[in-house]
Each structure stands twice: as structure tokens, then as C-alpha cells.
Amino acid sequence: MNSLGLALAILGAALAALLAGIGSAKGVGLVGEAAAGVVSVDPTKFSKVLILQLLPGTQGLYGLLIAVLLLSRIGVLGGGALELTLSQGLMFLASGLPIGVVGLLSGIAQGRAAAAGVGIVAKKPEQNGKGIIMAAMVETYAILALLISILIIYNIAL
């Protein structure tokens, strides 16, 4: 029964990296498609659209971050994995969900906003800062989820 706890905890880490990573990949891909169109017309705008394309990439990083924090907390990264009870395992699984699920959806949503921001760069390149800010609004919720994931990981009694 105890090994099941550990398995659940690792599932939590995997879900965090997995879902948030998918979200970022989709988001970054969406912006990339829009950005390539702008660059094909005016290659000098590459650096501006690149910044926009990077924006939805953070969710994946947050997912990775949570996965690593979780794995190191349960000792998988240090070598000696801890014995976890079933309920501890479920708690760790739960800790991966906020950043996983919110990362997935917000990554895609942020990708859409950033792709629309690419339109700003195409028409009014000097206003690209506003496009960045609008896309960054979406990220707030990923950050809140990240925060909750961190707080859960560090507040589970072992």
C-alpha cells in the first residue's frame, strides 16, 4: 500500500509537467504561426514577435518547476525515496493539479492573446508593449496556480 502512495505522488509531478507543458507547447505554437506570417513580410520584426511567442512558454516552466520541487520533496531526486502513505500520495497528486490544469488552459488562452498581439506588431510595431501586457494578464492565473501548488507541496506533513 505504501508504494502506491509514492506512485501517486510521482503521478502528481508527471501531471504538472505534462499538462502545463502541453499548454505551453500549444500556446507557443499558436503564436509562432501568427509570428511567422508577420516575419515573412518584414523580417526586422523578428525580435518583437519572438518576445510575444515566448510569453506562453512560462506555464511549461512552472510545470517543470513544480515537478522538480515535488520530486525533490519526496526524495526521488535525492536518491532515497520516502515511504508515503496513501493519503500523503493523494495530497502530492493534488499539489500537481493546479499548475497542471491551469497551466494547460492558460497556456492556450495566453497563446491566443499573444497571437492577437502579433497583429499589433504587424500594424503598429511601436505599440507592441501593449500587446505584451495584454497577453501577460492571462499569466496571472497561472502564477496563482503555481503559488498554490508550491504552498501545498511545502505544507504536506511528512
Binding site: L61, L64, G129, A136, E139, I143, L144, Y154
Partner: protein, 651 residues
């Protein structure tokens, strides 16, 4: 900002305008007085701009052909400097450079023509390749007794069946392809119509555009022509390449034409009489006396300065001290202050650097930022705008070092990892304060605390603004109850996460109650009837509760982004130090360090920048700032490649 009016002789107008352009401190307004004549400069402006676009195109072609790219480093280096005398000499050579630009464009056009001709010929050649097996001229009509038909039949036509249907007809397959079969058909003269009809029924189409040569000969000709065209392209490219070294001259022409277009736009705004002209516009107050003196000394002018009137559309130029000026760009990105607004730049400057550092929060990364920006500021000669940005990142870098040292993060835990894995020593935490991961709750509450300070700063500015505008009641009612409520609720909310001293909590309770009551009493004060006021008050309370709750929670990003930087940095070190073999480990660690840390810096730099901006725009600015002012757009030397060096005491 002051209004300026310059009256001078028409004969001096161009010289005066050129001087104003070099100074770049006067915004010229359109003259609306009806008794003055205005110069129609639209045609000249169009000529300049069209020529400029052509030269830009020529420069692009030249760069493309010679293979030199405009590098990012060049933008840090700044523009080439000219003193006005040299500029005059150089300007005399503009026509020559313009001619060269047209030569380049002409070459380019010829190249494009050759290329499209080659494309056509290639298609033709490929279609002829299917006829090489035919060894008679392609327009062969037959002999004196026979008739020849050359063309193609659809794929899958049964030739045997065709042969059976006719007598004395010779059908030779030239080439069988997937889509069609090319055939050579020979028949007796008197059977021509019959044969042709038969073939037509089977989908025959005759070869078009034929010549008196065989396909092989024709292909040889076409290939020779393609080679000739290729040679012509090479010649033209060589011609363009001969212009290598002209890039700087072309850049000069581009800027020269741009400046002339700007000058003519300004000239078009002047009001003129037969002998004189009048210029009206705006000038920042601090520059006015020097300009008046300068113009007075050199020309016969009458200048008057006066304060703008209440309904004038006065442009805005931000002016701040050395500490806050670097973040002016951030204000400009949001919106310039409108009339009656407080310039938010100095308000946010301190918190801007503070938050940025806290979100990046790695001393090693901060040191790199400081080194890089100082280097650019020292060695390069960045333009004013770039200089400001660099200064902003310099200050942000210093703040990053400060927070990184407090949290003990130097390239993540690189120091600890190196000490442990290579020297076998545990050196523990380097934090001057505490490691965020050891006690995230403490840092979370600290972030909220900073957030409350930030919000209160915004509220205080609003108080000042309203008070100064004479709305003293509004100032008190809009700000004080909110502050009391937030101050009172904060310790109670903190009690959920940590133990708060009971005295503080109970004081908080009463402060919060007073605040809430005041909000309910005052928030609906604009309504007439008592019940409406009451509901307005309740609604105001609801707004404050939700608004400020989300505002304050938003500051948790200070913690989250800081943790993200540090943790990812530590993960990088962890990956680098994974192998057991010491040699492999050392090599991998150095490699990973050199590749992954810069990537982490780039991503987190972007994150810190974007989220610091957000905290200023959404949380702070919404408390007091409206914006919507018009930017000061002086007649100036608005160039890409060159600039003027002014000797102030010349002549």
C-alpha cells in the same frame, strides 16, 4: 511647456527652420490665421519620401548582395556624428549617391526580368524534353504524298485499336507519360481529314508553337539562352557589388531626405506674408531662453513667449531626475499624462526597481545585468532612448543583486553545489535574510505587505491630486475609508496563515469595522435619496472588497516569479552535477552552466519586466492615473543613421 511665436524675414525661413530642426526643441503648430498665406509643400514632401523609399530599397538590395547585415550591436553603438559644416559638404554629394541608388534599382530590375525569363524558358525546356525522341523538325507537315500530325493523345488510349480502325496510317509513339502519350502520325494525303477526325475523337491535341527545328536542337538553343541570361544576372550582380562601400552614403541620403521631408512639413505649417513668416508652436520652458538668445543673435526675429491657454492642446514632455527618468519609457508605453494628471514616473520608479529585482532575485544574474548595461553605457554610445533603457536595466540589476543576496541565490545554488561535489564541503545557505523555499509563507506575506504599500502610495497620490484640484471632500472620502478597511482586514487575513499577536488582531478588527462603516456611509454620496445612498455604499463596499482582494493577491507574483528563477537555476545545476565520473561531471556542468543559465536569464528577465509593468499599470495606475496626453513632437533631426554634433560656441 510654453507657447512660442517667432516672426522673421521670409528670406531667413529655411535657415531658421534648419536650426530649429537641429535643436529639436520646438513643436510647430499649424498656422490657422486666415490672413496669412500658406506654402503648399505636399508635392515636395511626396518627392522626398518617394526618393527616400527608393534609396531604402536600394540599400536593402546592396546589403543583401554584399551580405552585410545590420547587426544588433550596431544599434547599441549609436549613430554617426556630423558637424553641420561637414553635413553641408556631404549634402552636396546627395545627387550622385541618389544616381547610384537608381543604378542599383535598375540592376535589380534587370535581374528580376532575367529571372522571370529564365523561369519561362525552363518550363518550355521541360515540356520539350518529352519530344527529344522525335528526330524530324517539330513543324513537320509530311512529304509530298503524306501528311504528318504531331501531338498528344490522352494516357491510356489504345493505339492498337486506332491502328486497326485506319489503313495506311503510321503511328509512332514518341514518349509515353503518365498523363499523356506523345505521338507522331503519318498518313496518306487524301486520308488527312479522315485520320484527323479519328484522332480528334480520341482526344488528340496538336503540338502548338512549333519551330522548324527538332526538339533536341531547340532545347540546346534554350539552354544556351538560359546560360546567357545567367551570365547577364552575374554581370548585374557584379555591378551592384561594385557599389559596396556606398552603404554609408546611402544611409546618409536616406536620413537627409527624411530630414528635408520633415522640414518641408514644418514649412507647410508656417503662416506667410510677402516678406515675413510667422511660426507658432510649443517649447519646453527650460530651453526657451537659450533659443531666444541664439535666434536673436543670428537673425532679425521677433520672438514672444507666453503661457498656453486653458483650452490649448498642449503636448507633454516627461521630465524627471536621474533616478526616475529611466522608467519614463514605461509611462509612455501606458499613456502620457493628460491635463490635471500627476506624472506617474517618479511615483513608480522606486517600486519598479524593487519589484523587478524581487522577481528576478538572483544575485549572479543581477551582476551579469549590471556588467552588461555598464559596458554598453560606457563603451557604446547609445541613443538617448536606448540609454534610458540601459539605465533602467542597470538599476533593476542592482536591485536584483540586492534581493539575490538577501535570498542567498547566486546562479541558484551553484556555489553550494560546487563546494559539495568538487570540494566535499557543505557550506549551507548564503542567504543574508532567509531562503524563500524554507519559508514561502513568510515571503508571501511580505509580498502582500509590499503590495499594500504600493497600493497606498497610489491612493496617497490620488488624495494629493483630488485635494489640489479642490475636491477636498472627495479626497478624504475616496481614500481614508479604503485605507482603514485594508489596514484592518490585513492582520485578520494574515491570521489564516500565521499566528498574529491577539492585540494586533483585535485592533485590526475595530479599524476594519470603522473603515467598512465609513465606506458604506460615503461611497454612495453622489446619489440623491437616502436608500440609494445606502445601496451605493453597499455596492462601493463590494467593489472595494473584491477589487482590493484581487489587487493584493496579485502581488503573490513577487514570490512566485522569484521562486521560479531560483528553482530553475537550481535544477540547471542539479542536471549539470548528475554524472558520477568527475571529468564528465566537470565538463557537463560547465556546458550546462554556459547554455542553460543564459536561457533562464532571458526568460525570467522577460517575465520580471512584463510582470513589473503589469503591477504598475493595473494595480498602481488604476488608483490615480488617467493618461491620454499628447506626446511632444518637436521638429527634430529624426534619423536612423546619422546625428549632429553641435559645438555650442561655434561662430
Amino acid at each position: 511647456m510654453q507657447r512660442i511665436e517667432i516672426v522673421a524675414l521670409l528670406s531667413d525661413s529655411k535657415k531658421i527652420m534648419e536650426r530649429l530642426q537641429r535643436r529639436g526643441i520646438v513643436e510647430v503648430s499649424d498656422c490657422t490665421e486666415e490672413e496669412f498665406v500658406k506654402l503648399n509643400t505636399a508635392a515636395s514632401i511626396q518627392t522626398f519620401e518617394q526618393a527616400r523609399a527608393k534609396v531604402e530599397k536600394a540599400l536593402e538590395i546592396l546589403r543583401d548582395v554584399t551580405g552585410d547585415k545590420a547587426s544588433l550591436l550596431a544599434s547599441l553603438k549609436g549613430k554617426r556624428e556630423y558637424i553641420p559644416d561637414d553635413f553641408g559638404k556631404k549634402a552636396a554629394g546627395v545627387d550622385r549617391a541618389l544616381q547610384k541608388a537608381y543604378d542599383i534599382l535598375d540592376d535589380q530590375k534587370r535581374i528580376a526580368d532575367c529571372k522571370s525569363r529564365i523561369a519561362k524558358l525552363t518550363v518550355l525546356r521541360d515540356s520539350l524534353a518529352a519530344w527529344t525522341a522525335l528526330d524530324v523538325p517539330m513543324n513537320c507537315k509530311g512529304t509530298s504524298r503524306t501528311n504528318a500530325l504531331i501531338g498528344s493523345l490522352p494516357a491510356g488510349t489504345d493505339l492498337e485499336k486506332l491502328r486497326e480502325q485506319t489503313e495506311d496510317v503510321y503511328i509512332e509513339v514518341v514518349r509515353k507519360m503518365k498523363t499523356q502519350t506523345n505521338v507522331f502520325v503519318l498518313c496518306r494525303k487524301e486520308k488527312e481529314q479522315e485520320t484527323y477526325d479519328l484522332l480528334r475523337r480520341n482526344g488528340f491535341s496538336a503540338l502548338s508553337g512549333t519551330t522548324g527545328k527538332t526538339a533536341t536542337e531547340r532545347i540546346g538553343e534554350i539552354e544556351k539562352e538560359i546560360a546567357d541570361l545567367g551570365g547577364a544576372i552575374d554581370d548585374r550582380l557584379a555591378d551592384i557589388r561594385d557599389h559596396d562601400g556606398m552603404q554609408k552614403d546611402l544611409e546618409f541620403v536616406i536620413d537627409y531626405l527624411g530630414m528635408r521631408a520633415d522640414k518641408y512639413k514644418a514649412l507647410g505649417k508656417l503662416g506667410m506674408t510677402r516678406e515675413t513668416f510667422v511660426l507658432t508652436g510649443y517649447i519646453p520652458k527650460k530651453y526657451a531662453p537659450a533659443l531666444v538668445r541664439e535666434l536673436d543673435r543670428k537673425y532679425r526675429v521677433a520672438i514672444s513667449l507666453f503661457a498656453p491657454e486653458a483650452d490649448d492642446d498642449v503636448p507633454v514632455l516627461l521630465e524627471n531626475n536621474g533616478f526616475s527618468a529611466p522608467v519614463e519609457g514605461i509611462t509612455e508605453m501606458y499613456a502620457l499624462p493628460a491635463k490635471g494628471d500627476v506624472d506617474p514616473t517618479p511615483v513608480m520608479a522606486f517600486f519598479y526597481y524593487l519589484f523587478f529585482g524581487m522577481m528576478l532575485s538572483d544575485a549572479g544574474y543581477g551582476v551579469l545585468m549590471v556588467l552588461f548595461t555598464s559596458l554598453v553605457l560606457r563603451k557604446g554610445k547609445p541613443e538617448p532612448k536606448m540609454r534610458k533603457t540601459m539605465k533602467m536595466f542597470l538599476y533593476c540589476g542592482i536591485s536584483t543583486v540586492f534581493w539575490g543576496a538577501l535570498f542567498g541565490s547566486w546562479f541558484g545554488d551553484a556555489v553550494q553545489v560546487i563546494a559539495r561535489d568538487w570540494f566535499g564541503r557543505e557550506i549551507g545557505s548564503l542567504a543574508l535574510w532567509f531562503e524563500p523555499l524554507d519559508d514561502p509563507i513568510r515571503l508571501l506575506l511580505f509580498s502582500f505587505g509590499l503590495g499594500i504599500c504600493h497600493l497606498f502610495l497610489g491612493l496617497s497620490v490620488n488624495f494629493y491630486k483630488l485635494w489640489k484640484a479642490g475636491q477636498k471632500l472627495d479626497a478624504v472620502c475616496d481614500v481614508i475609508p479604503v485605507m482603514l478597511t485594508v489596514l484592518g482586514v490585513a492582520p485578520m487575513a494574515a491570521g489564516i496563515l500565521v499566528t498574529v499577536p491577539p492585540v494586533v488582531a483585535s485592533v485590526g478588527k475595530y479599524v476594519a469595522m470603522i473603515g467598512v462603516i465609513l465606506v458604506v456611509l460615503t461611497a454612495g454620496r453622489s446619489s440623491k435619496s437616502i436608500p440609494m445612498r445606502f445601496f451605493g455604499g453597499i455596492y462601493g463596499l463590494y467593489n472595494i472588497a473584491t477589487g482590493y482582494l484581487s489587487d493584493i493577491l496579485s502581488y503573490s507574483r513577487l514570490l512566485a516569479l522569484g521562486l521560479a528563477t531560483g528553482c530553475i537555476a537550481s535544477v540547471i545545476n542539479l542536471i549539470g552535477a548528475m554524472p558520477q565520473n568527475m571529468v564528465v561531471k566537470t565538463v557537463l556542468f560547465i556546458l550546462v552552466f554556459l547554455v542553460a543559465h543564459p536561457a533562464n536569464i532571458a526568460i525570467n528577465l522577460l517575465g520580471a519586466y512584463v510582470h513589473t509593468d503589469r503591477l504598475q499599470f493595473v494595480e498602481l495606475f488604476s488608483k490615480f492615473y488617467e493618461g491620454g496626453g499628447r506626446a511632444f513632437e518637436p521638429l527634430e533631426v529624426n534619423t536612423k543613421y546619422i546625428k549632429f554634433r553641435e559645438e555650442q560656441n561655434n561662430e
